[in-house]
């Protein structure tokens, strides 16, 4: 059947069953491989994308749940070659090693900052608990989220850099 979705501000039509997971839709139908398969049970967070600004585990979320909503993936953050402040913050803090968890981390963090613009450290840790970084760069990720959040609060555009608050 034909599914109509709005992905990264672009209307997309694709031929897939509504029960197909959003992970498969994004990766196999739309070629958006930034969301990663990691566990298939919603335990690792590598596949995180946003529906109307809220984080979902795309591996256990059916496509029907995205109909009529704004889907945002990591590919939708960069604008005209300019990084989103949260992407810039991950880069500045070296908040990765192998990078496989990074898109899911950034999307989970963005969902947190959408709902709470100035989260404390414990709030960040609690909100990110569902995302695994096997390389163990958690401390850097927390720093990056604090820096990215500060940049977003100050209204930084994609081009500006904001110093880490830490």
């Amino acid at each position: 059947m034909t599914l109509e979705l709005r992905v990264n501000d672009t209307p997309r039509q694709l031929d897939a069953d509504e029960s197909t997971s959003l992970l498969v839709v994004m990766r196999e139908h739309l070629g958006l491989t930034g969301c990663k398969p990691g566990c298939g049970e919603g335990e690792c967070g590598a596949c995180t994308i946003l529906l109307d600004g809220k984080a979902v585990r795309s591996c256990i979320t059916e496509a029907r749940q995205a109909v009529g909503k704004d889907v945002l993936t990591i590919e939708g953050l960069e604008i005209d070659g300019q990084l989103h402040p949260l992407q810039q913050a991950f880069l500045d803090n070296g908040a990765f090693q192998c990078g496989y968890c990074t898109p899911g981390m950034i999307m989970s963090a963005l969902a947190l900052l959408n709902s709470c613009s100035d989260p404390g450290e414990q709030q960040i840790i609690d909100a990110m608990q569902g995302n695994i970084c096997r390389c163990g760069t958690y401390l850097r990720i927390v720093r990056a989220i604090r820096q990215g959040g500060a940049a977003m609060r100050s209204g930084a555009s994609h081009t500006e850099k904001v110093e880490s608050p830490l």
């Binding site: 930034g34 049970e41 960069e78 991950f90 990078g99 496989y100 569902g130 995302n131 390389c135 850097r140």
Partner: protein
Amino acid sequence: MTSNIRKDERPRSGQPDGRPERPPTDYSASGPSHVIGDWLLFESDGSVVVMVGKAEVGQGIRTSLALAVAEELRMPAEHVQVLMADTRLTPYDMGTFGSRTTPYTAPILHKAAAAARQLFVERAAALWAVDPPELAVEGGSINHPPTGRSIPYANLITDAEAGRLNELWSDDEAITPSESWTTAGKPALRAEGRDFVTGKHRYTTDMTRPGMLIGAVLRPPSIGATLASLNGSAAEALPGVTVVRTEKFAGVVAPDRATARRALALLRPTWNLGSAGTHVSSANVFDFLKSHPAAPQAHNRWAGADVFETGSLTEGMAAASGGHTLEASYRVAYIAHSPLETRAAIAEWDNGELTVWTGTQRPFGVRSELAAAFGKPEEQVRVIVPDTGSAYGGKHTGDAAIEAAWLALAASRPVKLTWSREEEFTAAYFRPAGLIEVRSAIDAGGRITAWDYHNYNSGAAGIRTPYAVPHQYIEFHTTETPLRQGSYRALAATANNFARESHMDELACLVGSDPLDFRLLNLPDVADPVQSRLRAVLLAATERFAWASRPTGTQGPTGHGYGLACGTEKGSYIATCAEVDVDPSSGQVWVTHVVQAFECGAIVDPEGLENQVEGAIVMGLGGALIERIDFDKGHVLTDRFSRYPVPRFRDVPTIETVLLDRKDLPSAGAGETPIIGVAPAVANAIFDATGVRLRALPLARNPERQQP
């Protein structure tokens, strides 16, 4: 001048697909190639491509090797790209393991680049008819300050050379001493970082090939089961599905993953279950290991010799009269690497030649495995490793590559195979479980006089004691193993340091000595390089931790404790201090603070090094506290993340790293050793907090509470 690698395919984070006009010679038998052009390609735009057979699995060597070459060529690191782990384009490499990139590969690149720079100086001097000492090298150009003339490297290469210098570098090439580094040794951003944060980096899992199909493999229902028969007709009735049966396995190929999974479920196999190993479980495995010796074999000795003997144990035990003797045994569980990117491969056949993209730490080893599996000469097999979603020692073998190649051969199409998380937890190999028995003696002054140490199965890496002990007998015993096992970050150094450093604490407790003082007392020789470097990290870590002023439990255990451990492995040195809280009723453990001092000679990439040390501490906490493969009756029970906990955000303590930069010493690798101090430091802190000595990893899941 021609360029071998297209500009739009520069190896920033993925791998380029250009074909060089001259593949490097396979120097596997005779040591590294000494031809500069096998390692360095000078592009006409002034950039340089480094070609190296190592794989990037998150440890940051794409960055650190670029820094090394940029340093010698006196050019910005941004103009140096690194082409990695392609058996057709890069020189032979044994594998990305053993912390060898920095001590062995980086020096080759330093020498090749230094030789190239010297050649360019000579060529410019000849061109301008000036004396070489009048020339300066800067920014990838040779300059003649007296006349203001300047010429980039690229203009000093002939068209015939096509970017590759045929001259040789020598083993005693003069390289830039680390004290004089201006590029290496400075903070640098990871080369792949931008592609990571935008989601553009393509792991094997993300790649596609024209006409590619998706494969899936039928896994046995229990460990050791073999396929007796297979009815594939229902599966093959699905559109586009091919059922494949080889001598080793059965699988399916389908247009997409969902169909492949459906086809797999429709296969009707019968199995020969066998009985081997079904009576062994994670509960009784340690008895099994001790009672099932096996002949030592090259592939399961892991590292080093089996026996180390000095002096006489009898004498050493007798020398303790007036002191103490102690016997204790320690256990470590099987654990899984569980890299976030599961094993994956894409295989493509073209006129009998095979190309495989796969995340492996041994591209040339996997090429050999593929060549052997298909009876092909190695020249007809090409393995390309896209930068991989981590490995930790878990991706040495070509399992997924071989499976994908069989499936692609049967389907006559390119096939991608991506293991599921459950396959990752059941079909891959584990870090070995081990039993370690220690018998020791100390004299009245607190000096260790005898050290009798037996490790069953976990391995020989890090088995020797760095302490000054006159009478030692140390043996690694090879045993049978009920589970498939293999390399893991730092190999057995984690197990051996856990046993040794726990035992050291027990001895310190016996004589009422402070754990730091006790270690320093048994590392008395400041002229000995091992002992002095270990003393240095011990002192650095304890100073930052304020070890001397920690509250000590004069009132008995308080539930709050401090622990210390140190060790050396693969030429680097570590000391770890840990602070823990323990809930006395539930036994739950929180590690709240870790200070780790690390010394690996001259630091090449301080930013990457700090990241590695922090990451190793976090990963080490997993094995120390919570990770364990549970198995019973031939089944792995912990076969997914919801059943196999790994460290998450809430598990991470505050971490301080103290990096000692020894510019006067050669750089050692750093990806592994920082993991080895965590478990014993935490175990020792738990004892300090509770008075209970836990001698089995994982500490927070001990089946029984052993009394001190």
